[in-house]
Symmetry: C2
Subunit: 277 residues, 2 copies
C-alpha cells in the first residue's frame, strides 16, 4: 500500500453513470489523470438502474462534493435535460456525455464523443477545415463526429447508413446548427472526397471487412475509424496501403480524454479564437 492515491474526506468526486458499468475504463483513466495533475479527486463508477435514472441523477448532482459526471450507455440522451446549459455539440446531437458543476452550482453539459475524433486528427497535424467527408454510420458515434467535424469547419459531409430515417434526422440537425456545412445522405463515394470516417460498428468483430466500398484512395485522403482494436481494421489497412494519414479508435479515445479533462478542470480560462467552437 502506497500513499500515491489516497481518498480523504476532502477528495472531490466525479462519477460515470451507466448500466451496466463494469466495462467502463474512465475510473482508472481519469483518476490517474487527476493524480498526475495533483488534483485531489477520483472518478468512480456508478451503476444507475434504468428505471430509477430520473430520481438518482438529481440526487447525485445534489452531493456537495461531486464536481462532474460522465455519461455512458444508455443514458446520453436522457441526461440532456439535467444540464442547466449545453455546449454546441450536445445541443446539436441532443445528448450529453459529460457535465461539470460551475462555481454558481449550475451544471454545464456537453458531448465529447466527436470532439475526441477532432482532437485525434489535430494531434496528427492534419487539417480539418474545408475537408469533404464521407462518413459511414449515423448512430451515436456518427452523429457526434459529424457534429464535431461540422463545428470544426469541414465543407461537406456525405453520410452512408442503412437507416434512411436517422440519416435524414442527423442531416436536419446539422443543417440547423451549421448551415454552412453541406450535409447529405449518400450511397457511394463521390470523386472529390478527401476524408473518410467509419463511425459504424463494422470492424469491431474479427473478420469484419470494410464498412463499404471506398475504392482507391489518394494519399491526401485522411482516413478515420472509431473502432478500437489491437490490429488495424480493414479500412485503416486500406488507408495505410494507399499512403494515407490515419486516425484510429485509440487516437480518438486519447483525444476525448484530453478534451474532457480540459472541460472538467480547465488549465487556463478559454481565450477567444483558441477554443475550437
Amino acid at each position: 500500500m502506497t500513499n500515491s492515491l489516497r481518498i480523504t474526506g476532502a477528495t472531490r468526486l466525479y462519477a460515470i453513470v451507466g448500466d451496466p458499468i463494469v466495462q467502463v475504463r474512465s475510473p482508472e483513466t481519469f483518476t490517474e489523470r487527476f493524480a498526475a495533475a495533483g488534483v485531489n479527486a477520483v472518478l468512480v463508477p456508478a451503476q444507475v438502474p434504468v428505471e430509477r435514472f430520473d430520481e438518482v441523477i438529481p440526487a447525485l448532482m445534489a452531493l456537495g462534493n461531486l464536481d462532474g459526471l460522465l455519461v455512458t450507455v444508455p443514458f446520453k440522451a436522457r441526461m440532456r435535460p439535467f444540464a442547466s446549459r449545453l455546449g454546441a455539440a450536445a445541443e446539436c446531437i441532443g445528448a450529453v456525455n459529460a457535465l461539470r458543476r460551475e462555481v454558481d452550482g449550475s451544471w454545464t453539459g456537453d458531448m465529447f464523443d466527436g470532439q475526441g475524433f477532432v482532437r485525434g486528427v489535430e494531434r496528427k497535424g492534419e487539417r480539418i477545415r474545408g475537408r469533404r467527408v464521407l462518413m459511414f454510420g449515423a448512430g451515436g458515434a456518427g452523429s457526434a463526429i459529424a457534429c464535431a467535424l461540422a463545428g470544426a469547419g469541414v465543407e461537406s459531409i456525405a453520410i452512408i447508413d442503412p437507416d434512411a430515417g436517422r440519416v435524414e434526422a442527423l442531416a436536419d440537425a446539422l443543417h440547423n446548427a451549421f448551415p454552412d456545412c453541406n450535409v447529405a445522405a449518400a450511397s457511394s463515394k463521390a470523386a472529390d472526397v478527401d476524408m473518410i470516417v467509419n463511425a459504424s460498428p463494422v470492424g469491431m468483430r474479427p473478420g469484419d471487412g470494410m464498412p463499404g466500398d471506398v475504392g482507391p484512395l489518394s494519399a491526401d485522403t485522411l482516413v478515420g475509424d472509431v473502432v478500437i482494436s489491437d490490429s488495424p481494421t480493414a479500412l485503416i489497412q486500406h488507408g495505410l496501403a494507399n499512403g494515407c494519414r490515419c486516425v484510429n479508435g485509440h487516437d480518438m479515445h486519447s483525444g476525448q480524454i484530453e478534451a474532457i479533462m480540459n472541460f472538467f478542470a480547465p488549465e487556463s480560462p478559454p481565450v477567444s479564437g483558441v477554443v475550437s467552437r
Copy 2:
C-alpha cells in the same frame, strides 16, 4: 502513480454521508483496509445537504454497485428508517452509523459507536461481563457505549449527565432492551464501581480536567475515555497513576474500524455463541 490502488469499472463503492464531510477519516482508513484485504472497493466521502437528505439517500442506495454506507453527523438518527432491519444497538439507540446491502438487495443497519469501545476493552484482554459501570455523558457516544456495554453483559450502569431528561430516556431504552442490566441516573461514584467511562466531551480541549469526581481508584477498575487526543486525558492520567488498565479514544476508534470492516465484509459466517450480541 503506482497501481496499488486502482479504481476500475468493477470497483465496488462504499460512501460516508455527512455534512460537512471534509473532516472525516473513514475514506482513507477503509479504502486502505479494502486494498489490504484484496477487495476491489473504495469508500468515498459524500456531502449530503441536510435539506435533501430524504431524497439523496434512497438514490445512493439505488446504485447497483454501492455495497455500504457509513453515517456521520448530523444524520445518524435520520438514517434509521432507511434500513430494512436493525441490529440490537441501532434498535436500542434509535440511530445508525453503518448500513450494508444484503444479497437480496435489502439493507441492514447498525450502530458501532459503542461496539468500538467494547472491542477496545476486549483487545486489552479485559473482562466486561459483570462489571459495575459509572459513565459520564448520556449523549450520542454515551448512549451507544451504554448500549454496547449492556449488550456485552455489564451488571449495572450509573449515568452522570447534567441533562436529567436524556439520562432518563437512555435509562428507559436500556431497560427495555436489556432488562437484566441495572441502569440508573447518578450524581456521584458509588463504592462498588469497577469501570469508569468518560463519554462526555470533557477532555477534548487542552486544559480540561476530570469529567467529574471519581476519587481514588483501585487497580482492578477499568478506565475508559472516548476522547481522542495525543496526550492522555486527565481521567486516563488518573487511571494510570492508580495502576488501572485504560482504554482511550484511539483504542475505541481502532475497535470500531475493525467491527465495521467485519460488518461490511464478514470474513466468515457468524457462528452462534461467538458473535457478541
